[in-house]
Symmetry: C2
Subunit: 280 residues, 2 copies
């Protein structure tokens, strides 16, 4: 595995592969790799000739009061894990390499951010779309892999790829969970042990909502409100949202063939999100 920190080193690798007609799978991450990331790397490994993993905690996607500084950073462990899974290039640019000058441009996400995380994290998805565009242009992958846990992020990236005609296939992989159901997330490291116990209630409530929908519940507004109340009572965290939306369009009107039940819980030092997507 090559460990590269500059655009120039990455480009040198990339040009070699291009000459040889190699296909490239790309797994963009913010590091603190867990089994969820590793499942993406493994998938990329089986579907492409070469695999690039990036680790970049992107300041642009953190709000001023968010956890940029506290976001877990475990680079030595990450290196070992990425190498073990057969990564060819691990790209770990410093901030000044990705943003060498105060930017003149950003990607603005102008639709679909009035729900879920978009609503409570203004500017977050502009930061995500901007850095993903930059990373796609630097890595030029055939396929890029994202976790379905970040469902709105997947939607944002897929829409951007369509809008800007990027030649990348965006692949979303199922959420990987701890034995007790908690979705794996780098931010789980920032839970206190009490909060860690509490946190399982996030997924349980999504499951209850899922059961209710599968049993034919049609009053979505009431179900949302009831689940939100119940989740509020079950945890020391603050319920940021619990929403049931059409998927992938993320609209209130259930016009697609799937529905997403998604929720976010804010704990003392970690904001957790999770979702379940079901056919209707």
């Amino acid at each position: 595995m090559k460990y590269v920190t500059t655009k120039a080193e990455l480009e040198a690798e990339r040009l070699n592969w291009e000459k040889d007609g190699k296909t490239v799978g790309f797994v963009p991450t913010m590091g603190a790799l867990h089994e969820g990331h590793l499942s993406l790397i493994r998938k990329a490994r089986t579907e492409n000739d070469m695999v690039i993993v990036s680790i970049f905690v992107n300041p642009l996607q953190f709000g001023p009061d968010e956890d940029y500084d506290a976001y877990p950073r475990t680079i030595d462990m990450d290196k070992a894990l990425a190498e073990k899974e057969g990564t060819d290039v691990l790209f770990v640019p410093p901030v000044a390499e990705m943003y060498p000058q105060p930017p003149y441009n950003k990607v603005s996400v102008i639709k679909g951010t009035d729900v879920l995380c978009g609503k409570s994290r203004p500017g977050h998805f502009d930061g995500v779309a901007t850095v993903v565009l930059k990373l796609f242009l630097l890595t030029r992958p055939n396929r890029a892999y994202f976790g379905q846990k970040d469902a709105q992020q997947v939607a944002v990236v897929k829409n951007m790829v369509n809008d800007f005609h990027l030649p990348v296939e965006v692949i979303a992989s199922p959420t990987i969970r701890e034995k007790d159901g908690l979705a794996m997330s780098s931010r789980n490291k920032n839970l206190t042990s009490e909060e860690r116990e509490d946190a399982t209630t996030l997924f349980s409530h999504l499951k209850i909502a899922e059961d209710r929908l599968r049993s034919g519940e049609t009053n979505i507004t009431e179900l949302e409100a009831e689940m939100k109340r119940s989740l509020h009572n079950a945890t020391s965290g603050t319920v940021d949202y619990l929403e049931i939306l059409s998927f992938p369009s993320l609209t209130k009107e259930l016009k697609d063939k799937q529905v997403i039940i998604a929720a976010a819980l804010q704990f003392s030092k970690a904001r957790l999100i999770d979702n379940i997507i079901i056919d209707i």
Copy 2:
């Protein structure tokens, strides 16, 4: 010359060239080609193996009260001219090919639009940057050619290329002028004959300001105001702006090695812009 209207046809050509390692020059235009455009095509022709010219009147860069509908469209003439200059592919997508769905994303230009055209045309450069990004991703040129008449556009595109790590060299070519000094522009077609006579005063005033600067004038604010008054008195058009700025940074503070003197005149059905860039 191949005349193509779909992304798929363009991509087929592009992939062939890629296989053969051909370099590509790209001249994006809104059509109504004149000698200014042709000079860009000729430059692209000498510097690259293959030349793509696009004609697309991009609705996104026109404000609601601007001249989208009235913008000159002369496609048969354009085809003949592009072919004569040795264009390999003329890409003329319909609006629905470039914007098949209401977009979820745009490029936002977040710096440098508080001066010149950016000030009076809010959203204009977002539209420019967005469509240029899309066209760059579709045509994947080694070099792209723009007229220096649209100086702020050149700055916006160069900044975007830097910000997003696009592998394109952006080349700005000198403004081509009519014998009486009027900068060539597709919009000149929309001048009445009286306005056409009047319009020469735009460049004359830039020249006067240039002479004054070369003669050592240092009171920029006073020179701007004086030139603006004089231009106002000399034309039936409305002076949108006359500004003297550092170039290429487009700041009031003269920190670069060049200065741009730029002005815009609004006539009944045409808004004309022009500029002179000088070393200081």
